[in-house]
């Protein structure tokens, strides 16, 4: 119980005020995140409208199976995160740690698959400014259409920024697992778990938009 008592910071009058402030602050921060990614989605919209064919062609270079599997992995991680928040609200120490470790596991699988995908792009020379022979000509020597390289610029900017968000999330999750095991969270106080959950779900939702926009254009436009 003493850990719960010390969790109230001096400048708040009670737990209710503290929790409401933190929740509002977190949502404001997520609004900021929406605008942050929004700049990228806006740029994507402009160039996809300008180069629909090149975007569809470039999209067909991605591995839809890996991307699809990763989507499922990430949705699972959101489920385990939601379970962790539930466990924290019950004060179930072991369950908090287990669900959070599962979340970390799914997150790591996602990032591992992402590494495999990036490696493929490296091998095919699809990385702008670093390894870009495949962005100029395909393997038969035909020049790539205008907008093809822009697609991959956006692909790496968007998935890269998304991955950075996940990488930031994992150590935070780890600290929650440790604090959870130590019994810091219970029915009176589990705000950190809940807030990290909001963040994690947000990052998942970004991917839910990235997956169709980046991987499924070919299927949509019929470029195959």
């Amino acid at each position: 119980m003493s850990s719960v008592a010390t969790a109230l910071q001096h400048h708040f009058t009670d737990f209710k005020q503290q929790k409401e402030s933190v929740v509002l602050g977190m949502w404001s921060f997520l609004v900021q995140e929406v605008m942050f990614f929004g700049g990228l989605f806006g740029t994507y919209a402009v160039y996809r409208a300008q180069y629909p064919g090149a975007f569809a062609l470039a999209s067909s270079e991605l591995n839809v199976n890996l991307g699809g599997a990763n989507t499922i992995v990430l949705i699972c991680s959101s489920l385990t995160m939601a379970m962790a928040v539930h466990a924290a609200s019950k004060g179930d120490r072991a369950a908090i740690a287990v669900w959070i470790l599962l979340t970390i596991m799914f997150g790591s699988i996602f990032l591992g698959v992402k590494v495999v995908e990036y490696k493929e792009k490296w091998d095919h020379g699809l990385i702008p400014g670093i390894q870009d022979h495949g962005l100029q000509f395909d393997h038969e020597g035909t020049p790539r259409p205008t907008g093809f390289a822009l697609y991959f610029g956006l692909y790496f900017a968007m998935t890269g920024l998304h991955a950075i968000h996940m990488i930031i999330g994992i150590p935070i999750l780890l600290s929650l697992a440790i604090n959870g095991l130590r019994g810091k969270y219970g029915p009176h106080y589990y705000t950190p778990v809940e807030m990290t959950g909001l963040y994690w779900h947000f990052v998942d939702i970004v991917w839910i938009f990235l997956f169709p926009l980046l991987y499924l254009i070919g299927a949509h436009v019929g470029a195959h």
Binding site: Q9, H10, H11, T13, Q17, E20, S21, V22, L24, G25, S28, F29, V31, Q32, E33, M35, F36, F37, G38, G39, L40, G42, T43, V46, Y47, Q50, Y51, A54, P128, G129, I130, T146, G147, A149, L150, G153, L154, A157, L161
Partner: protein, 551 residues
């Protein structure tokens, strides 16, 4: 009502936020919003000085028509460094991070901002970003203009673009965190009885500013990421040769940077509302209109960015829309100006130094705002785009408005911040010098711009020399006006008279606690029973004269 105050003034050695712990560590690791405000104050004063140094290089070069003092490359660096330092590292944090940080929790009757640790983190983030920018300026300069348009910043720049871009990116998060902190504080930390429509207008202004910070700043951050990728790796987002579009950068840049103008001016308007009401000893006329006009400016400010691009490939129809929306922003700004003026009517106007700055603000912002309408008119803008008319216009808004408001706020709350009174004579002289020097500097630039003098060149035809010399002379007066406060304010810390709790006889909660305030702001949480600026029911003991007798 006045009993606690009498007690406070008899206990000379009462502990306050400055004296309760004086180690360097206690300052660098402080979570007290008042101390963090002072950290910001010192930092942005430094960056203002650096920015001012580069401004003086520009003005010295423009004394003579020939480009003889600086080469064109160095001149590019001088005006770019001036712009980057002043905008990102002085004007944007000035009122919110210094005055807002100090006063906002006091005004809402809270012990601190909602997130004190994040507040401290924001200062460190700000300093990290500023260090990158200063390093960029020192290690080879930046020659792209503060707007960093590609291809200047991508294909053709030979300067430290990456470092500067990183600096702006990092510093942006300081601004975002301040915004998040203010929003949560205003929503959840208000003292009992302090309803939304009892809030001082400075709080409303900072709340509106926070919305702009949270919604706009992330867009400049991601734009800086894209520009960095463009500059370093040639991703081609803004390169026509690779299918990209440089105008897209301008859209993204101004989506933030136009609202950023409101980050600079809105909180300054909040300061003016406080000062006008206090020194007229009247309730601010049209309180709810002034409060709502802040929100209106924050919202409309997001819909006008295209007016920076009338001369680009943006379509004429888009231009017409942006032009019309830009005219709309004039309405909430005018609402404020008219309400301030109406507050003076039949008020007991007192000519204290903050009031002089507030009057300066009203005059200069009026000119700045009205010339903005000239520029929002598409036909006029074709003629005036990239001339000194634009330079004069935004200096009237951002310096004549933003900096005057900041100076007014510093002079208004200085007794609260330091517990000391400054020299009336020197501070009034400084306010007059700043007002006169400012007009001498920038009014001739309207004429120069109208005659067609383009910005960002280090030489010009002979017939423009007289006006340029006027401008440089004015800038010298302005410089003295800015150096003076540095001297007499510093002097007041050591030799100033002790400030009473409420030297101006003002109504805000910040004047109910001692000067300087105790570490946790209030000995007891205040309970608010009246509207803001309720001078009618303020006890007679709270008049400035009565306060002065206690000293």
């Amino acid at each position: 009502m006045s009993t606690p105050h009498h007690d406070a003034s008899h206990h000379e050695e009462e502990e306050n936020y400055l004296t309760h712990d004086t180690t360097i560590q206690s300052w660098l690791l402080t979570k007290d919003h008042k101390r963090i405000a002072l950290l910001y104050l010192l930092s942005i004063t430094l960056f203002f000085t650096i920015g001012g140094f580069f401004a003086s290089l520009v003005r010295i070069e423009l004394l003579t028509p020939a480009g003889d003092f600086l080469t064109s490359e160095l001149y590019n660096q001088a005006f770019t460094s001036h712009g980057v330092m002043m905008i990102f590292f002085f004007l944007i944090p000035a009122v919110p991070a210094v005055l807002g940080n100090f006063v906002l929790p006091l005004m809402v009757g809270a012990k601190d901002l909602a997130f004190p640790r994040i507040n401290l983190a924001s200062w460190y983030i700000f300093m990290a970003g500023a260090s990158c920018a200063v390093l960029a300026v020192l290690s080879g300069g930046l020659d792209t203009g503060w707007t960093m348009y590609p291809p200047y910043s991508s294909t053709y720049s030979q300067s430290r673009v990456t470092l500067a871009v990183l600096g702006v990116f990092i510093a942006g998060f300081a601004s975002i965190l301040t915004g998040v902190n203010f929003i949560a504080t205003v929503h959840r930390m208000r003292a009992p009885g302090l309803t939304w429509f009892r809030l001082p207008l400075f709080v409303w202004a900072n709340y509106a500013t926070s919305l702009v910070m949270v919604l706009g700043t992330p867009v400049i951050a991601i734009t800086m990421v894209l520009l960095g990728l463009e500059h370093l790796l040639g991703f081609g987002f803004f390169d026509p040769a690779k299918g990209g579009d440089p105008v897209l950068f301008q859209h993204l840049f101004w989506f933030y940077s136009h609202p950023a103008v409101y980050i600079m001016i809105l909180p300054a308007m909040g300061v003016i509302s406080e000062i006008i009401s206090t020194f007229s000893r009247q309730k601010l006329f049209g309180y709810s209109f002034v409060a709502m006009s802040s929100l209106a400016i924050a919202i409309l400010g997001f819909l006008v960015w295209g007016h920076h691009m009338f001369t680009t490939s943006q379509s004429a129809y888009t231009g017409i829309l942006f032009s019309a929306l830009t005219f709309l922003v004039a309405i909430p700004s005018a609402i404020k100006a008219f309400n301030w003026t109406a507050t003076l009517y039949k008020g007991s106007v007192v000519w204290e130094t903050p009031m002089l700055f507030a009057f300066g603000f009203m005059g200069l912002f009026l000119i700045g705002g009205l010339t903005g309408l000239f520029l929002a008119t598409m036909g006029m803008d074709i003629h005036l785009q990239d001339t000194y008319f634009v330079v004069a216009h935004f200096h009237y808004v951002m310096v004549g408005g933003g900096v005057m408001g900041y100076m007014g706020g510093i002079h208004f709350w200085w007794p609260k911040i330091t517990g000391k009174m400054y020299s009336q004579f020197w501070s009034k002289l400084s306010a007059l010098l700043i007002f006169a020097g400012f007009n001498f500097t920038f009014f001739p630039q309207f004429i120069l711009g109208y005659m067609g003098m383009p910005r960002r060149y280090h030489s010009y035809p002979d017939e423009w020399q007289v006006l340029n010399v006027m401008s440089t002379v004015g800038a010298s007066i302005l410089a003295i006006g800015y150096i003076l406060p540095g001297i007499y304010l510093a002097h007041s810390i050591f030799f100033g008279k002790k400030a009473p709790r409420n030297p101006w006889g003002a109504t805000g909660l910040e004047w109910q606690t001692s000067s300087p305030p105790p570490p946790h702001n209030f000995h007891e949480t205040p309970i608010v029973t009246t509207e803001a600026y309720d001078y009618q029911s303020l006890p007679l003991s709270e008049t400035p004269e009565k306060e002065a007798e206690h000293v």
